[in-house]
């Protein structure tokens, strides 16, 4: 196995594909283009709302896909009794934050669509943890539950139109504004304190779960709390799993578990996912769904191993050496795995480790 620090995007991709394949997920290959309408109706679901569009020969407005999940959902079989398990690795086209230019981004991910039971959630979280382990260590998978947070907000009396603001404060771990926004919305002080404690939660899964249960019993519906407790308990032995309610998503699309993966040395999340039954409903589907995406381009950007030199050795030859002699000399130097460039003079703007000259068929 290639050491984690030396993995390239391609080798990571290979490992992840084999991981997902091993759990019975089949490859989903999609077209580069998708009808623009799909994205226009679900703009908030996209990480960036800019989409490259063009008109095809028949006058239909198409888009270079900025996202994979929406296409998978659109084409999925809507069944409440069976589960479709798919993985993908596709290039998507997005505008990155702070830029006006589009970038081609390599994205790998998986989706579990249909009947979503505790095992499906467990399996997706487990695969998210495994994916992080394959990419880089140490890492952390932070898991939250939008259903729980939303029910606490309902109990606090926070109106629907204020929920997005409360979620923003939770996502920022911004306790001072959370209190102010909830108070201004007329929320109950006791419940505001519960929200504050949830945001602050940090620690071993088992300990934290007991705390969460005692805090939320009687406040949220037992069914939601039970699913959360059962799934998290089943993963409590995972050392990199953290319950962290600051992981939030848009409630217009996500409902239950939401999660984000981080690796040390990479300043942004490298994996993101959740349960998106609300999106399914919005797209006319009756079944549930959960999945995640891994941002391999971000990983590569931060862990690529920068070489000190363009080549290890430059072999300078002249007309007194025959092509065969030059080739032999190059192979001798390169035998130890060195990168050797044969040239008649040192090319400009090249960084090399060593310079070897040869004349009359011999190295000097």
């Amino acid at each position: 196995m290639i050491p984690l620090s030396e993995q390239t995007g391609e080798s990571m991709l290979f490992s992840l594909r084999s991981l997902y394949g091993g759990y019975g997920y089949s490859r989903y290959k999609m077209n580069k283009f998708e009808e623009y309408d799909l994205y226009a109706h679900n703009k908030d679901f996209l990480i960036s709302d800019s989409v490259i569009t063009f008109t095809d020969g028949s006058g239909k407005l198409l888009a270079l896909k900025p996202d994979v999940t929406l296409s998978i959902v659109k084409n999925s079989v809507d069944s409440a009794n069976t589960t479709q398990k798919l993985y993908y690795n596709e290039n998507v086209y997005r505008v990155t934050k702070g830029s006006r230019n589009f970038k081609e981004i390599m994205q790998v991910g998986l989706e579990c669509i249909g009947k979503i039971d505790d095992y499906c959630i467990y399996e997706v979280l487990k695969l998210a943890l495994e994916s992080l382990n394959q990419i880089r260590k140490p890492n952390v998978l932070s898991v939250s539950h939008l259903g729980l947070l939303s029910e606490v907000m309902d109990r606090a009396g926070i109106p629907e139109n204020k929920k997005a603001e409360v979620f923003r404060c939770i996502g920022e771990k911004n306790l001072h504004e959370l209190t102010a926004v909830c108070t201004a919305a007329g929320a109950d002080n006791g419940i505001i304190e519960v929200l504050r404690r949830l945001v602050k939660i940090n620690g071993e899964t088992d300990t934290v779960l007991t705390e969460i249960r005692s805090m939320l019993e009687g406040i949220v519906s037992p069914a939601v709390l039970d699913v959360f407790s059962r799934v998290m308990s089943s993963l409590s032995h995972e050392p990199n799993l953290r319950i962290d309610f600051s992981v939030v998503g848009d409630i217009k699309y996500y409902n239950g578990f939401v999660f984000k993966g981080f690796a040390e040395g990479i300043p942004t999340g490298i994996l993101s996912g959740g349960q998106y039954d609300t999106l399914m409903k919005k797209m006319g589907k009756k079944s549930g769904a959960i999945g995640f995406a891994v941002y391999l381009d971000t990983v590569e950007q931060f862990i690529r191993k920068s070489e000190e030199f363009d080549v290890d050795t430059v072999l300078i030859y002249d007309e007194t050496s025959s092509p065969e002699q030059i080739g032999k000399q190059l192979r001798e130097i390169a035998a130890g795995g060195k990168r050797v460039l044969a040239a008649t003079s040192v090319p400009q703007q090249i960084k090399y480790g060593k310079l070897v000259r040869m004349s009359g068929g011999k190295a000097e």
């Binding site: 140490p138 952390v140 771990k173 300043p267």
Partner: protein
């Protein structure tokens, strides 16, 4: 080692004093020189001075684990960071100001000059007001005087500059103060150190308030 981005200038000096008082000193920072990075290995902190408007970028991109930025910068650039504390210093407000005789004619598009386009846009969007943003980088106060704009949206501290330019505040958009922010990924791996910093600074902030 906790990397801390401080805003250059008077606010940054006040902020450093708070960090020092909270038990995160780095005496070399007080030396009179042009260095920008200071380290105290014993306390596990490395401070660096950056332009105030850049603090959020350093933190969001992980060059700094934590930093101190004004709420105006956070609202304008919306960096994906944790906002852990309101430090209660550098207090001022983002306000709408105009000439004394200004009358807001709802039948016309309102011309708004500002350095803070996103804040101004969001403010007027929430009021359903049609506006034309004129993005300026400085001397915003002269825009209404020269007829470039109807109003300005800018930071008001004491109001002296507005007064001297015959402008008055019409509305407060949002109160501003310095906030302690943290990189989300850094927080996952350095939560003990960051939580300790937040707790200590939080204590001294509360005591002062």
């Amino acid at each position: 080692m906790l990397n801390i981005a401080l805003p250059k200038g008077r606010l940054g000096e006040k902020v450093y004093a708070m960090f020092e008082e909270a038990g995160f000193p780095c005496p070399s920072i007080r030396e009179n020189n042009r260095k920008l990075i200071f380290e105290n290995e014993e306390c596990g902190v490395r401070y660096f001075w950056v332009k105030p408007s850049d603090v959020a970028i350093y933190v969001e991109r992980g060059a700094a684990d934590v930093g101190v930025a004004g709420k105006d910068i956070l609202l304008e650039y919306e960096p994906d960071v944790y906002e852990l504390l309101d430090l209660g210093i550098g207090k001022c407000r983002m306000a709408v100001a105009a000439k004394k005789d200004f009358r807001d004619d709802a039948g016309q598009t309102l011309r708004v000059a500002t350095k803070f386009s996103r804040i101004a846009e969001n403010y007027y969007l929430s009021r359903g007001r049609d506006i034309d943003i004129i993005h300026l980088n400085g001397s915003i106060e002269i825009a209404p005087i020269l007829g470039l704009s109807d109003v300005i949206v800018d930071i008001v501290e004491t109001g002296t500059t507005l007064k001297e330019n015959d402008l008055v505040v019409y509305d407060t958009v949002v109160p501003i103060s310095a906030r302690l922010i943290a990189n989300k990924a850094s927080y996952k791996f350095k939560s003990d150190a960051i939580d300790r910093l937040v707790a200590e600074i939080g204590k001294s902030t509360e005591e002062k308030q």
